[in-house]
Symmetry: C2
Subunit: 347 residues, 2 copies
DNA sequence: TCATCTCTTGCACACGTGTGCGTATCCATT
DNA sequence: AATGGATACGCACACGTGTGCAAGAGATGA
């Protein structure tokens, strides 16, 4: 049978409030009985009931983390950062895979609400207006990762990478290597991160005096198969590019695999840049040039922000604002200088 | 303010037990009031308090999942399987990274005990006797993944891949390709999975009439850097092997990267087999031949087993036993037939 | 008409913990 | 010796929910 503070109270010949106070190290209890009760609790194998405690204190010390799928290594690294920070502050993580199905997302949110989590971190790729409304109903602060939300509510904030700057870095790197015709392979449709990376790409081109060519924007989907298809489209172009910037590393990997099958050498015939710097980026052949997102760091930041929001509800809130972190260009071997090939300038 | 069943009771002009029964669809309540109360609950935005419910029913519908690190894509895929199955049965997953630090593991277990989880799944690489004892103290059933535990307790069982058979498959494949000198690069020290894979390796060699050579067993650590170092050792051998079976894919990747730097061609000069079939195995160059573990499936199985154990506590338990699943050899391009090279037979 | 039975609802308690407030004890001060 | 204050502890209630049991209201049969 499970031992409660009442059992300890009976064993020690005191009342249960005394035990409660002794275990929480209250100054109201004499040092002698405090020590006696603590030893007793230890001996009897007492474990405080977090449910009962949460019921009365209205604090559960647990946070919900909603992801599309934890099997995505990019997501997993973020969650790693979240969990570690949460643990260090005595918080517990409840994991929810939404699988990008709205119905499942709703169910997850309802569950978190029911469990009375102290806060929520969401790293689904897109967050519809309807979903955000549900999120607000939890009645707990919410932090979004890589989800730009225009009107951050009273208690919802976000941590995100500077996608535009990242796109600018990647494209600028290719330009500096001498490339003029540079493709962009898009990510999932309508994602704000895709649009921002693309904006950075355009910005870098214009800055260098290169006219952006709509034909060089090739649709992808953020997954390897999207990259594979993109390469085929790219090759069918009348005037194919000498370099390509991909929405993310997964896309780049697919594209490179397809290129290898077609006998196209990377980076000799085509330079490729990715985005994210997933775990294996340096182990691919060729090692992938990419824009690194500080994934674990972003998880840490999000959790810290959430902790601030949680405690800010009691204290009058210190000012918290959305946080934007910078990606970092990591040059490996999938890009190289454009040289000694006849450069075909259109128009 | 949060709405409780008492608030609904007041609004409906009934007592709170009536509301409780109406919402749980009890046959004791008339259809009319049941409908009225359910509609009222909907309107008032009622969300049941899982804490209070768990306190009285002694069921929390949440399970703890302890992993070394969720950032390991292999682990993440297992957790994906666990979470999906848990969700489908109305259960919630509490995630704990142990980071392989014993102190952290203990803390995690204590936290899970405090939260009164209904069960626990552990997929840390090694589980010491002391740790298992702590685990038992949770007072909830435990399922271990890829952790062979000799004496499974009253409520602890396991799901694991057949490591010995997997090692036999990998080595057999190399033998069939004509290789005679085959190395094995070990995993983390003293892990039972490593010993079992090595046993399968020896078994396949002996079966084929090849004398196992202790010099060909090279220490690794389960990570890429271990594989890189292994390659150097391997090259320094007087009579180097023509093929190598690595403890896992991470090791193989490191080994292949090191080989590339040394100008050694895979699979022309050296055939390489991995283990696990991590997500990117097919995207590496060359695509990796490996023994696939059904990761998501193992997660599913473990969760199903846990559900059985949980419900079996009330019903008299149906018989549950440890489960062993078979890996599958996946032949890609990192291995190939040994041919037309002078074969050096020792002794 | 009265007893019995079914249907519906309320009362009271329990789960385990935290906390405001009252009170008993003891020591020091006047 | 009486008063004051500090110290240490118990009483009672609250958090939100589930459930055994009693009780009231009708309906039905004798």
């Amino acid at each position: 049978m499970r031992v409660s503070i009442k059992d300890i109270a009976k064993a020690a010949g005191v009342s249960h409030p005394t035990v409660s106070r002794a275990l929480s190290d209250s100054p109201l209890i004499s040092a002698a009985t405090k020590a006696r009760i603590q030893r007793l609790a230890q001996e009897m194998g007492y474990s405080p009931n977090a449910l009962a405690r949460g019921l009365v204190t209205r604090q559960t010390y647990s946070v919900g983390v909603v992801v599309t799928t934890i099997a995505d290594p990019f997501v997993a690294e973020i969650v790693q950062g979240i969990e570690t920070t949460a643990h260090d502050h005595g918080y517990t993580v409840i994991l929810c895979n939404s699988g990008a199905e709205p119905q499942r997302e709703i169910a997850a949110v309802e569950m978190l609400r029911s469990k009375r989590v102290d806060g929520v971190i969401v790293t689904s790729s897109r967050v519809g207006a309807l979903y955000l409304e549900h999120l607000e109903r939890i009645g707990a602060p919410v932090v979004l990762i890589n989800n730009h939300n225009e009107q951050s509510g009273r208690y919802t904030f976000s941590v995100e990478v500077d996608n535009q700057h990242g796109g600018w870095l990647a494209t600028g790197h290719l330009i500096q290597l001498g490339h003029q015709r540079i493709s962009y392979v898009t990510g999932p449709a309508n994602s704000s991160s895709d649009l921002d990376r693309q904006a950075g790409y355009r910005h870098a081109l214009i800055e260098a005096g290169i006219e952006p060519d709509a034909a060089l924007i090739i649709p992808g989907n953020g997954r390897p198969d999207g990259g594979e298809r993109a390469l085929e489209i790219l090759l069918s172009l009348a005037n194919p590019p000498t370099a390509v910037f991909c929405y993310n590393d997964m896309t780049a990997i697919g594209l490179i695999a397809a290129a290898r099958r077609r006998g196209i050498s990377i980076p000799k015939d085509l330079s490729v840049v990715g985005f994210d710097d997933i775990v294996f980026a340096s182990y691919f052949e060729p090692p992938l040039t990419t824009v690194a997102q500080p994934k674990a760091e972003m998880g840490r930041l999000a959790m810290h922000m959430l902790l601030s929001l949680i405690t800010a509800r009691e204290d009058n809130g210190e000012e918290i604002s959305n946080r934007v972190v910078q990606g970092e260009l990591i040059v490996r071997a999938s890009t190289r200088k454009l040289c000694k090939r006849v450069e075909r300038r259109d128009k």
